[in-house]
């Protein structure tokens, strides 16, 4: 769980930060020490743990530092550029910058980049790159021009991938952005055009990048407040060609698009980014940490004095200019779990309680029936699942491809084939996302539900039942079996869609009123004549029982939601009936009880509907009651515990018949009324009227 700790200010000394803020904060060769370059003339070395400066160097009056000082990790020296072309190298012992090594270069420097384990690189404003050693050997060497006129470098970052230095820099020209990836050892420079997607006028405000084995993941914060991700291959397929890169939406509207102040973005680790800027509503600036995998806000901290819109992150420290002073906020990220990712809510609880253990931990292999002995393999599978999920999400974010349907179909088929081949492979999230595209159907991927049934994944099954129009009755019935048999405790852990369920536990006040009204409803229908007076009486003896039965839902809410999905699904009676016979009797009675409960709830109001967003209709309930009884009557009738239910159902049918007979009567009288009405409207066969045409 990511968290920001208490902030502290590095120096009481007011830095001479210009309107653009600091020039840079860079690491030095000692873990706790950082080089801070202000936008004027000074470089200060801070020790963060002591919160005090260790040294300070300034250039002469009239000179100005143009490139933040960096540490050459190989030699422990510091390097800075002033007046664009003058390079200075010094170490801790030096006092005066005027006296230290100086080299005047033939071209203007954009940045010096230095990371642990390799020599620093010098990036010139024209896009050329030199190693520091090679440059110092001949400072006046000719520097070639790489980027075109009017193209300006906006941002750059230096990585070491498998001991190969890789430099990426972003340029901008007339609102178009280009990415250059320089493999320093092989001297391969690849140029990419960054496509901005739909919103052409958005300006990219800030960049950050992280790297894995094959890709540089370039994240950008646009002026619309959204974070986009672009994957740039490190080893290009065809370096000669100018290639285009598509960005995909990662996070929506994390900061206000039209913020006056600067916004900044930096990647903290694979799953977290820190964003500096004003959130949508508040005007005060905030530092917020987002989990990009779950798209949740992890934590945020208000910065009331305003920032310069710059953010650096080294080790466990976030650096920013808060007001006039340099502020450090330590940042920590524990292993993330679903509970944590779901938001801050659960986190406020004591982490010691074992509530958390109910939630799936994405980092540790769990469940899946796989022992720890092959945890290596399971981690590999988990990794690939996660990778697929990211890829699918990226693809879905694009969506506008013309062959969207076929690609989705092929993807699902491919995934399912792998699921069948590798039993432990089950990219659940990915499948859920694909189902929710509304383009899948049962016939396209019959294996999907088969696998979900095998895994007893009720959430996925519910989703399938809701989305697929063509589920065969046998599969519907298999789903029903699982929904009825799955234990309440395992249901508790699932996250089923509760849209169709209304909180039945809230007792409605109308209960008793309706009881009385049924007598009035039976206009023209005399229950006394009916042969089953006895059972009526028997029922009337225990009115309390009945009300109790009618008001409490026989199944838990989650199971009710699952059963409602079954009720909503399409079926054909002849095909469903044989499968219904396979369901155990106690489950049948449970389902019948639930249906009867729904019926009673239905009849509570005049429109005969259930509350809720997408509740089952009365017809669906009645059809299913009939179906279940048709299929299992002989079994149910033998069960003593079902007797009361059957009597209730019998009464229900009787009341239905009477309702329908009333409706048919009403229909006839209504038709007569309509006829009368028509006759009134009919002016007869002959009339003389006045017509005026205008």
């Amino acid at each position: 769980m990511a968290a920001l700790e208490e902030e502290f200010t590095l120096s009481s000394v007011v830095l001479s930060a210009g309107p653009e803020g600091l020039l840079g904060v860079e690491q030095s060769d000692k873990t706790d020490q950082f080089l801070v370059t202000d936008s004027g003339r000074t470089v200060i070395l801070y020790k963060v743990s002591d919160q005090k400066p260790l040294g300070s160097w300034s250039v002469k009056q009239g000179q100005i530092i143009t490139c933040p000082a960096v540490c050459n990790f190989q030699t422990g020296e510091y390097v800075v550029v002033h007046d664009n072309k003058v390079l200075r190298i010094w170490n801790n012992e030096d006092v005066n910058l005027d006296k230290v090594f100086k080299a005047t270069l033939s071209a203007e420097v954009y940045r010096i980049l230095s990371v642990q384990g390799t020599e620093p690189l010098v990036l010139f404003k024209e896009g050329a790159v030199r190693g520091l050693e090679a440059l110092l050997a001949d400072p006046q060497q000719k520097i070639e021009t790489v980027i075109s006129d009017e193209e300006v470098i906006k941002w750059t970052k230096f990585f070491v991938v498998f001991r190969h230095p890789v430099l990426i820099f972003i340029t901008e020209k007339h609102g178009n952005y280009f990415a250059y990836v320089q493999m320093f050892n092989s001297r391969i420079l690849t140029k990419y055009t960054l496509l901005l997607g739909q919103d052409e006028n958005s300006v990219i405000k800030s960049f950050t990048a992280s790297v894995d084995r094959k890709f540089i993941s370039l994240m950008s914060l646009s002026s619309d407040g959204c974070i986009y991700e672009t994957l740039i291959p490190i080893r290009p397929a065809d370096p000669e060609k100018n290639q285009s890169l598509v960005k995909s939406l990662l996070l929506k509207a994390v900061v206000s698009g039209n913020a006056r102040n600067g916004v900044a973005l930096t990647a903290l680790d694979q799953d977290h980014v820190a964003v500096l800027g004003s959130p949508l509503a508040a005007s005060k600036e905030c530092l917020s940490v987002w989990n990009i995998k779950f798209q949740t806000l992890q934590t945020s901290k208000e910065l009331p004095q305003g920032t310069s819109g710059q953010l650096w992150y080294y080790g466990e420290h976030l650096f920013m200019l808060h007001g006039k002073s340099l502020t450090v906020i330590p940042y920590k990220c524990e292993v993330s779990s679903l509970a944590g990712a779901l938001g801050k809510l659960k986190h406020s609880q004591d982490p010691g309680t074992h509530v958390v253990s109910h939630f799936v931990n994405w980092e540790t292999p769990q469940g899946c029936g796989l022992g720890f002995q092959n945890s290596e393999q399971s981690r590999r599978i988990k990794d690939s699942e996660k990778h697929i999920e990211v890829e699918v999400r990226k693809f879905l974010a694009l969506k506008q491809t013309p062959d969207f349907h076929t690609v989705i179909g092929d993807t699902v088929t491919g995934l399912l084939e792998r699921c069948k081949a590798e039993p432990s492979f089950y990219p659940r999230n990915c499948l859920m996302q694909l189902i929710q595209t509304h383009v899948l159907s049962y016939s396209l991927c019959p294996d999907l539900m088969e696998i979900a049934l095998k895994k007893k994944d009720v959430q996925l099954l519910q989703l399938c039942l809701q989305q697929f129009p063509d589920i065969p009755e046998s599969v519907t019935c298999a789903c029903l079996k699982i929904f009825l048999s799955i234990g309440d405790d395992s249901l508790q852990e699932t996250d089923v869609n509760m849209e169709s369920v209304f909180d039945y536990s809230i007792n409605s006040v109308h209960d008793e009123k309706m009881e009385e009204q049924t007598e009035i409803l039976q206009n023209g229908f005399n229950p006394e004549e009916d042969k089953c007076n006895n059972c009526d009486q028997e029922l009337n003896k225990k009115p309390q029982d009945e009300t109790k039965e009618s008001t409490s839902c026989p199944v838990v809410q989650k199971r009710a939601a699952l059963l409602n999905a079954i009720l909503h699904s399409a079926y054909s009676e002849t095909f469903l009936l044989p499968h219904l016979k396979d369901i155990p009797a106690q489950h049948i009675t449970l389902f019948l009880k639930y249906l009867y409960f729904l019926y009673l709830k239905c009849s509570e109001n005049a429109t005969m509907t259930l509350p809720g967003i997408h509740p089952p209709t009365l017809n669906q309930i009645m059809d299913w009651i009939c179906l279940l009884l048709d299929a299992n009557f002989t079994v149910v009738v033998m069960m003593p515990e079902a007797k009361r239910l059957l009597i209730n159902l019998y009464k229900l049918v009787k009341s239905q018949i009477s309702v329908y007979s009333e409706l048919n009567k009403i229909e006839v009288s209504f038709r007569e009324l309509q006829k009368l009405n028509q006759e009134k409207n009919n002016r007869g066969l002959y009339s003389i009227e006045v017509l005026e045409l205008f």
Binding site: S443, E667, L691
Partner: protein, 694 residues
Amino acid sequence: MGEFKVHRVRFFNYVPSGIRCVAYNNQSNRLAVSRTDGTVEIYNLSANYFQEKFFPGHESRATEALCWAEGQRLFSAGLNGEIMEYDLQALNIKYAMDAFGGPIWSMAASPSGSQLLVGCEDGSVKLFQITPDKIQFERNFDRQKSKRHFSWGGRILSLSWHPSGTHIAAGSIDYISVFDVKSGSAVHKMIVDRQYMGVSKRKCIVWGVAFLSDGTIISVDSAGKVQFWDSATGTLVKSHLIANADVQSIAVADQEDSFVVGTAEGTVFHFQLVPVTSNSSEKQWVRTKPFQHHTHDVRTVAHSPTALISGGTDTHLVFRPLMEKVEVKNYDAALRKITFPHRCLISCSKKRQLLLFQFAHHLELWRLGSTVATGKNGDTLPLSKNADHLLHLKTKGPENIICSCISPCGSWIAYSTVSRFFLYRLNYEHDNISLKRVSKMPAFLRSALQILFSEDSTKLFVASNQGALHIVQLSGGSFKHLHAFQPQSGTVEAMCLLAVSPDGNWLAASGTSAGVHVYNVKQLKLHCTVPAYNFPVTAMAIAPNTNNLVIAHSDQQVFEYSIPDKQYTDWSRTVQKQGFHHLWLQRDTPITHISFHPKRPMHILLHDAYMFCIIDKSLPLPNDKTLLYNPFPPTNESDVIRRRTAHAFKISKIYKPLLFMDLLDERTLVAVERPLDDIIAQLPPPIKKKKFGT
């Protein structure tokens, strides 16, 4: 614009006959429709679905089958056992030939169009060769003994050719036979299941069969099934139960990728051949769309390349365009329902305020009532005298009336059947009417397609079906043949519309396709021919004084042609230049009657089934931006605005469906309506469907 007293007449008790068969001709884009009274109508689908020709019915000639063969030749067969061919030029029956097999139930033309197959009551299938001017019996197919009935096979109710012409399928009662055309012997006999929803019905009638080129036979039967058979093995492949009642008709598209069936419940189902899964080559027949445009049995269906056509007992002819086949989404893509004939069944004597109604086998003469009251727009005035039914004139013989007319003075009535022409003299003595038939009609006046009296009732104009126009002088109780305009040599086209100028000098006659001819009655010679136009004439009339001929065409264009000047009038040219309002052109019923106001020469009165319009030629024409029809009277607008927004088309949609509208005198109109509800009330009750319960 004017205030009128309108005699709103609803006592025209006209009920169209139910539709029995339709046959679509792809070559000419025409549809032949036969009704239960034996009438055959030809609709030109290219000319805005205009009913351009009709053949009057005959009591003993119930048409059971209709088909096009040899391109444009139309054949019918019926329960009198005869096969008939229609002469589409002269509009009479070319010949009738007894097939000697008892009543004929089905007929099908071979794919090449050179052979005709009929299925008879006695179970025989007879093959006829179509010769250029007749048909010739070729042979009988082998009859099979029915095991169930211990007699020769049941009647052949449906027939279909294999597209290669080598085999035929014949549907009978309880079985379908497949015959080899070459040998004439049965290859297979497929027994149709009598079971209907588990209950064994007495018989299963195969109402329709369709033979596809891949050897599949599709059958529809009285048990509500659509079944697919393999003709090679004689086995049932697939069965769809689609209705609780009979499925009575089937029609397959030429491409064999879709077909349509009609049921006795009034539903039309569309089946399409669609791939089993996306991008698979395996296809299956799927019931795609149900349409409920009929209240009664759908006796017949047809499948044009772009539309499903259906007709049945409820007398509507319905065109349901297939949206995926319609390229331009214009008004042609709209559903069309044709209920009323596109010709006038009513004539009117202005002088005596009489209306003559034409029915299939009788005429009715009514006298309109009167009122002394006045009122404002929309008022119904109290009647001082109600309308009287004066006369009920029954025809002799089984033939339907083709046309009828009452003279403007009210003292002559003329009507004609296929074989006889009748002229009656009426005498009015106070309230008594005496009727005297004028006997001894000359031989050439045997059959008339259109009859018209001159304005002064002294001349009778008769368009005979040989293409000749006869002028008869009427005086006192006798008549004298004056002249006959013979058709131009070589043409035999019948004239179906006549118009005479009020001064009696000019006679205009129009055929089904050729232009309008104008004759000089005084000099007894052809005066001129109006330039030919692509669309058939639906109504025409000659204006008083100016002798301008106003012609309405089926594409809703209206022309005004000056007979004395032999050219279109300036107004007509202006209209053509500016074009009609798009809503005017989108009306889907043709103009069936045109008349003029005696005192307002600038006015043209015309109507179709859903509106009545006065065109004021002195006002500017509406453009597409102006409101064509404004049902609300101008309220408090100033005269200036009213004058600015006023345009030439004054439309009233109060009376509908409007079968006839004419001006009786300057301030009185007569409107004959036939409400659809009144027609439905006279039809047999439809199959009752329960609304509530099961």
